[in-house]
């Protein structure tokens, strides 16, 4: 890597030019604008410019009753819509003290884990496409398509599920969904060998990912990085394990981590997490308890005054809802902690010194969704 420190600022200012990677660019995973200051092909400074897909979710929250805000979380991080929906319902249930039946908790875990697998497919295969391998991306879509069909069977929509309701879920899972998930898991297990050997062992892929965009644990701590990006740097932090919520304490699963903290480590963590999610789904399907899927809840909830913070593990990191309620049906303030927001900012620390091609790789390996950053 070109050692930036040797070039003093005087020479830098002459030889440097600015290149706009985005907002309309093939590998920015949404409308993201990276303003790069390049010296030849080496990045001297990077400044992500965000706000292109800002819809004011937090302002909307202050004008709607709690039920009307249900469709919004799925539109913040559209790749883990089920997980955000689950998180928002948990936040309001904690605020109002609603007890959720066990079967609903299990269904929420199953759908969240399915959604996590679908989101990790996008994250990993989009990263591979950023490096130029287009074929795995389409294979990822093929596997993800099965998950979308499964979730459509029960929730009715493919991406913006408003499946959760306060006190449980909207409707029960069908037999068709149950068998479909079993079949999907077996087919997915047989496909891991292909992904492993085509991408993970491929020498060009390894050369492009090893020692690129290394995030040290100190940087992760200072910038508040969470999720697979943090686990790639060796920290074993997963909200499902550290702060167990919903039905997660009843399942046995490990948290995969890697020590190197470079792009390859993050990729391997996400692929390993696929297997863990499958374990969780299988255990949940085996011990699915009978019973109602939704607790008796008034039509419009009115939580008591006060505030509460609920955190949950989205596919990109530790997301959270901080709700301040003033005793009426309309929330006083809802703050959404978007993991991609902090994960993205660490780019400004680790990118200088890399090549232009590496920027695309690092940005892909951090796996952010842009609407979640802009909210």
């Amino acid at each position: 890597m070109l050692n930036i420190k040797t070039i003093d600022d005087a020479t830098i200012s002459q030889r440097v030019y600015q290149l706009n990677l985005g907002p309309q660019h093939p590998s920015t995973h949404g409308v993201m604008h990276l303003l790069l200051t390049l010296d030849g092909e080496v990045v001297v400074k990077i400044e992500p410019i965000i706000g292109y897909s800002h819809r004011g979710h937090e302002k909307m929250a202050e004008n709607r009753i709690y039920e009307q805000f249900l469709p919004n979380p799925a539109r913040m991080d559209y790749l883990s819509g089920m997980i955000f929906n689950h998180g928002y319902c948990m936040a309001v249930e904690k605020l109002c003290g609603i007890e959720v039946p066990r079967r609903a908790e299990y269904i929420r875990v199953i759908t969240s884990e399915l959604n996590r697998i679908a989101s990790h497919f996008i994250g990993t295969m989009d990263y591979a496409m950023g490096l130029g391998a287009i074929t795995p991306f389409l294979w990822g879509w093929d596997d993800r398509e099965n998950i979308l069909d499964l979730l459509e069977m029960i929730s009715g929509s493919r991406l913006t599920y408003s499946y959760g309701r306060f006190g449980g879920v909207r409707n029960d899972i069908t037999k068709e969904f149950y068998d479909g998930t079993r079949k999907f898991i077996d087919r997915l297990r047989s496909r891991f060998w292909d992904y492993e050997n085509l991408i993970n062992q491929n020498v060009i892929f390894i050369k492009r990912s090893r020692d690129v965009g290394v995030i040290t644990t100190e940087d992760a701590l200072a910038f508040g990085v969470t999720g697979p990006t943090l686990r790639g740097s060796g920290v074993k932090y997963d909200v499902r394990k550290n702060e167990p919520y919903s039905a997660y304490p009843e399942f046995k699963f490990e948290i995969p981590t890697r020590k190197e903290g470079d792009c390859l480590a993050r990729y391997q963590v996400r692929m390993a997490e696929l297997e863990q999610s499958i374990n969780i789904i299988e255990q949940a399907l085996d011990h699915l308890p009978p019973g109602p899927v939704r607790a008796k809840v008034p039509r419009f909830v009115t939580p008591p005054e006060g505030d509460c913070y609920v955190t949950f593990e989205s596919a990109r990191g530790a997301a959270g809802f901080y709700i301040v309620s003033d005793g009426t049906r309309v929330p006083y303030r809802i703050k959404v902690r978007a993991p991609s927001f902090s994960n993205l900012f660490v780019l400004t620390k680790i990118c200088p010194g890399h090549f232009l091609a590496d920027i695309v790789a690092i940005f892909g390996s951090i796996d952010v969704t842009v609407p979640e950053i802009d909210r």
């Binding site: 302002k59 959270g320 902690r337 927001f341 902090s342």
Partner: protein, 164 residues
């Protein structure tokens, strides 16, 4: 329920916070209902002192946010840790509408963007912030959207009765 490790850590935290921020009220809150273990209410200041303690104990700064209570703002800092026992800390400080609190970006570089977002939506100017400018709204915007008197809200009494 709180594990032994969490109790020990909470006691440690309370003692170190008490002697560094004497005028702050530190109260333990019920994690199951609130989501955080310790609720620190600061009076005059000390945000940076708390941040320094938190960094020394390897806490991460999860979010910096503000809540507009019509006559004053409430700045909320959320710290949580993943190195030792899992503990979450909520630090709040009531500041006047035109107050300029100190920025913690010197201690937590991640706070640069978090504070820029608070400025962008509430108009709270942080002192000693490296480059305090708008982050999400267009740069030439002259409004601060999340204020209660911006747009149609309960408090601008233009809201139709459909809601509540």
């Amino acid at each position: 329920m709180l594990t032994a490790g969490q109790k020990k850590l909470l006691v440690e935290l309370k003692s170190s916070l008490a002697e560094s921020v004497p005028e702050g009220q530190i109260s333990e809150s019920d994690y199951a209902a609130k989501g955080y273990h310790l609720d620190v209410r600061l009076q005059k200041g000390g945000v940076r002192r708390v941040a320094q303690i938190m960094l020394d104990r390897r806490f991460i700064l999860e979010t910096v946010t503000a809540v507009d209570f019509i006559d004053s703002f409430e700045l909320v800092y959320l710290y949580s840790t993943y190195y030792q026992q899992q503990v979450r800390l909520l630090v709040r400080i009531r500041i006047a509408k035109d107050a300029q609190p100190y920025s913690v970006s010197a201690i937590y570089p991640g706070a640069i963007w978090l504070e820029r977002e608070v400025y962008d939506f509430f108009g709270i100017r942080f002192q000693e912030h490296p480059d305090l400018k708008r982050i999400i709204n267009p740069d030439e915007a002259d409004y601060f959207p999340l204020l209660k008197n911006f747009g149609k809200t309960k408090f601008t009494d233009q809201i139709d009765d459909i809601l509540c």
